[in-house]
Symmetry: C2
Subunit: 503 residues, 2 copies
C-alpha cells in the first residue's frame, strides 16, 4: 500500500517551504508500542461468544517473520526470489502441484522497495462448518444438516508492517466459520429464519430446538433473509478479528494494519466483503459489474467529520473537523476560506477562519489522509497507530466493518470466460476496470476453455501489466507511464463454478 500511510505531520500547518517534508518521507512508521500497562482489551458490550480463536502457533514463535501464502509452495530459494525487490518475479502456485480450490488463478509480486517485505497476504480455502448444535451433542438430525462447506478467498493488503495482514490471512476465515456455526440448520431450511437464536452459544444443554423461536405472525416484523444472516456473520467476523488483533498486539505479535477483501461462496451465492481500498469486479460476457467500493478519506469524509464533530476530544488540539480546499496560511486568519463540514457536499465560505488547526481529512486521490497519516479508512488492526509526534490515536476513525455485496451465481448461465477479479490497490493504482476487462478477454481467448492454467495465466498477465518492465530507472508500462511500485496481488475466480481440478 504505497503512500497510504505516512509518518505524518512534521508541521501541521505550513508556513513557507516546509510543505514537501511530509510527502518525501520514504519510510513508513512502525506502529508505536504502547507503554507497559497501557493496553486494554477492547470492550464488546454484551458479547458472550467466548469462542476464542487462538493465533496459530507459528505466529507466536516467530512474531515478525516473513512469509508468503502456503499455497505458493515456495522452497527457501523460491521464498528469496519472492522477496527480491530488484527482480520482482511474479509468483503463482506451481503448475505441477495441488491446484487452488475452484480452479482459482492467483499471482503476486513484491513492491519495488517501499517496504522490506511483501505486505500483501492471501488465502484460498475450503472451510467446513459444523453446526454448533451437532458439536454440543444436542442435535441428532440427519447428517446433511450438521454442516456445510464454504469456499473462501481473502486478499489482505498490509501497511506499517506485515503482521496484521498475515494474522488476518490465517484467522479471518476461522472467525467466519465460527459465526456460521449458529446458522447451519437455518441456512439449509427454506423457511424464513427464526428471529431468536439459542442463548449462550456453545453451552451444552441450552440450545434445544424449541428455543429457535419462530416468527410470530401477530406482530409486525422485518423481513430477515438468509442472505442477511450470512452478511451479519461476516460483519461480526471482521469485528472479532479486529478485536483479537487488539488483544494480541501485546509483544509485537501484530504490526500495523491491513485492508481485507474477502469472498465467501456459500449455497449458490458469492458474498464479497471489502474493508479498505482493494477492489473486486465481475467481468461477465464483457460487461463489468463492480462488486466493491473503496473506503478512503475522500469516500468516507462525511463519516469521519461527523465523528470528529460529535466527539471533538478525538481531534485533540491539533485537528479541526472542517475541510478546506488547501492548506490554510497564517495570513489568512480572519478571512473566509471555503470549507465543507460533515453535512455538506458543496463548498461555502460562511465562517471566518479562527485558528490554524489541521483538517481531519486532507489531500486528494492517493494523497488523501486522515489526520495527515493514513490513506485508507477501513480495515483490520492499526490499534497502535498514532499521529506522528503525538499520542493522538487514529484507530477511532477507522472502521473494521466491510461492505458486503451478494452475487447470486444461480441467476445467470456463466461461461468459462466469466470471472470475478480481486486485486489489491497495487493493481488498481495503474489500471482500471475497462483495461482489466480487456485483459480478461485477450488472455482467456488464447486458452482452451478447459485448460486449468488459464486463470492463473490471467492473474499473471494482470500483475505483469500493472508492474511493467524495468526501463529508464523505473518500472514502466508500455505507454511509458510508471508501473505500480506497490505490492500487487490478484485472484481470478471463474464464475462457471468449481473446476474439476480441485483436489
Amino acid at each position: 500500500m504505497l503512500n497510504r500511510v505516512r509518518s505524518a505531520v512534521a508541521h501541521l500547518v505550513s508556513s513557507s517551504g516546509t510543505s514537501s517534508q511530509r510527502s518525501k518521507s520514504p519510510d513508513l512508521p512502525k506502529a508505536i508500542s504502547p507503554p507497559p500497562g497501557a493496553l486494554e482489551t477492547p470492550k464488546s458490550p454484551g458479547t458472550k461468544s467466548g469462542n476464542e480463536i487462538p493465533a496459530p502457533q507459528k505466529t507466536a514463535e516467530t512474531p515478525v517473520s516473513f512469509s508468503r501464502p502456503t499455497f505458493l509452495q515456495l522452497s527457501p530459494g523460491g521464498l528469496r526470489r519472492a522477496d527480491d525487490h530488484v527482480g520482482r518475479a511474479v509468483q503463482s502456485p506451481p503448475d505441477t502441484g495441488r491446484r487452488l480450490p475452484w480452479s482459482t488463478g492467483y499471482a503476486e509480486v513484491i513492491n519495488a522497495g517501499k517496504s522490506r517485505h511483501n505486505e500483501d497476504q492471501a488465502c484460498c480455502e475450503v472451510v467446513y462448518v459444523e453446526s454448533r448444535r451437532s458439536i454440543t451433542g444436542v442435535s441428532r438430525e440427519p447428517s446433511h444438516n450438521q454442516g456445510f462447506s464454504f469456499y473462501y478467498w481473502g486478499l489482505f493488503d498490509g501497511h506499517a508492517g506485515g503482521g496484521a495482514a498475515e494474522m488476518a490471512s490465517r484467522l479471518l476465515h476461522r472467525h467466519i466459520r465460527e459465526q456460521l456455526k449458529d446458522l447451519v440448520e437455518i441456512l439449509q431450511d427454506p423457511l424464513p429464519p427464526p428471529l431468536c437464536l439459542p442463548s449462550t452459544p456453545g453451552t451444552p444443554g441450552v440450545s434445544s430446538p424449541s428455543q429457535l423461536v419462530s416468527p410470530q405472525s401477530w406482530s409486525p416484523q422485518k423481513e430477515v433473509t438468509h442472505d442477511s444472516l450470512v452478511v451479519g456473520a461476516i460483519e461480526n467476523a471482521f469485528q472479532l478479528m479486529d478485536e483479537q488483533m487488539a488483544r494480541e498486539r501485546r509483544g509485537h505479535l501484530v504490526e500495523g494494519g491491513c485492508c481485507a477483501l474477502v469472498v465467501v461462496y456459500l449455497l449458490g451465492k458469492m458474498y464479497v466483503a471489502n474493508a479498505g481500498d482493494s477492489r473486486a469486479i465481475i467481468v461477465r460476457n464483457g460487461e463489468i459489474i463492480p462488486m466493491s467500493r473503496e473506503f478512503t478519506p475522500e469516500t468516507e469524509r462525511q463519516r469521519l467529520q461527523l465523528l470528529g464533530f460529535l466527539k471533538p476530544e478525538l481531534l485533540g488540539s491539533e485537528f479541526t473537523h472542517l475541510e478546506f480546499p488547501r492548506r490554510v496560511q497564517p495570513k489568512e486568519l480572519g478571512q473566509r476560506m471555503l470549507y465543507r463540514d460533515q453535512n455538506m457536499t458543496g463548498w461555502s465560505g460562511r465562517i471566518e477562519l479562527e485558528d490554524l488547526r489541521f483538517p481531519l481529512v486532507c489531500g486528494e486521490g492517493k494523497k488523501a489522509r486522515v489526520m495527515a497519516t493514513i490513506g485508507v479508512t477501513r480495515g483490520l488492526g492499526d490499534h497502535n497507530l498514532k499521529v506522528c509526534s503525538s499520542t493522538l490515536p487514529i484507530k477511532p476513525f477507522l472502521s473494521c466493518f466491510p461492505e458486503v455485496r451478494v452475487y447470486d451465481l444461480t441467476q445467470y448461465e456463466h461461461c468459462p470466460d466469466d470471472v470475478l477479479v480481486l486485486g489489491t490497490d497495487g493493481l488498481w493504482d495503474v489500471t482500471n476496470d475497462s483495461e482489466v476487462a480487456a485483459t480478461v478477454d485477450r488472455v482467456l481467448s488464447t486458452y482452451e476453455p478447459n485448460d486449468p492454467s488459464r486463470y492463473t495465466a490471467l492473474a499473471q498477465a494482470l500483475v505483469l501489466g500493472a508492474r511493467g518492465i524495468p526501463r529508464d530507472r523505473g518500472w514502466r508500462l508500455p505507454n511509458n507511464k510508471l508501473g505500480s511500485g506497490d505490492d500487487i496481488s490478484v485472484f481470478v475466480i471463474p464464475l462457471g463454478g468449481p473446476g474439476s481440478s480441485y483436489s
Copy 2:
C-alpha cells in the same frame, strides 16, 4: 404526510394485545410547546453572516392561518373549495391569469381528512440576486456582473401543523438568494473560483477585489467547481432557514416541520435539493432519471444509530440504538434475538437481550419511525417535537441538510415532452416512476407541443391519478386499490426551457 408523524409510544414495549394502539391513532400530535424559558436559540458556531431574513408580516399577524400558494389566485370561495376534504377538488393556477414562470404546470389536492388543512405548500418564483459587492458600493464593474436571476420551485410537505411548510415556502428562496450574493461575480467568471471570500460579508470597505485570494499553485488544493459553490449555498440556506424556524417558534409562529424539495435553475443548470420524502424525477424521451432520494428511518438507519451510539444521552432511558426485526417480548430477555447496529447491514444474534428498551429505529416502509414518532428524517422545523409522554427531543436526529443533484440542461437537446416532475409523498405513495412516465407520455401526446396548458394538464392528471375517485366509502384508483388520502402536490417543469408564456 399521512402516517408519517405519530403520537407515539403509548406502550414502548408491548406486552400483549396493545400493539395496535399506536397505528390506529388517527390524530397527529400538535408540536408540544416548550415550557417558558426553556427556549434556546440554536448555536451556529462561527456563523457571522448577520443577514437576517425577517418573517413576512402576514405570518406575524396571523400565526396559524390557513393559506394556499398565492399563484393559485384563489378567491375566498376558491379557498373554501381548496379546503374541502369531501370534494377534494384539484387546484391549479387559472388558465386566464398570469401563468407560472417557465411554463410550469402545477396541481394540488387536499387530504381526505387526516389534518384540518392542506399542509403542503408550494412556491414558484424568479428571484433576482444582486451582488453583495454592488450592494455595498465597492464594485464598479460592468452591470452584467452585478446580478443574475434564478428560477425557483419549492414543494414543502408539512407535518404536525402547517406553519413550517408555510414559512419555508415564503422564505427559503430568500435565504438562497442571500447565500448567492457572494457568488455573483464568481459564478459568471469562467476562471476557477477563488478559495477565500471577502471577510465579514456586507461590511463596506473590506471586500475589495484584492481580497479575493487566487489559487496558489505551489500548494496542492482541491478542485472547487462553480457547481459545488451553488450546492454549498443551497445547503447553507436550508440550515439558516431551519435556524430561523428555531428562533421564531416562540409564540407558535412555527408549527411542526416540513419536508422540502427545491429546484434552482441557474446559469444553465438545475440544482435539485431534497430533504425529506418528496421526490423528483426527470422523464426524458421516455427514460427515467431519478433526481432525488428519500430520507426515512430506513434509508438513514445507520446515520441515526451512529448518533445514538456516540451520544447515548440522546436516547434517554427509553431507547436503544440497536434495531430488532420485531418487538421484543419480556419473555425473550436472555435470548439472542437478531439485531443490527450502526455498522451492520446484515442481521446477527451475537448478543443477548438484556433489557426491553425500544429501538431508535423501528417499523418498515411507510410505518418506519424514529423514536416511534416520526417517519421522515430530514426537513425543516420540528424544533419542539418530543417523544410522546416524554421530554426527549427528536430534533437532534433530524437533519435539515438536503442532498443536491445537478442536471446540466445544456448537455442534451430537450424536446417539449421532456419534463422534471416534483411530487410530495402523496403522489408517490400510490404510484411509481414508471407509471408517472407513462402518464407523462399519455397526457402530453394529446396536446400540441406549444399549448401552454399542457404541463398543468399533466400535473392535474398526476394528482387525479393518485387521488382516485370516491367509491366504496373511500378514494379509489381504477384498479380498486385505495388512492392517496394525503395532501398531493405536483410541479411539472418542461426541460425545453422557459416558455414564451412567462410574463
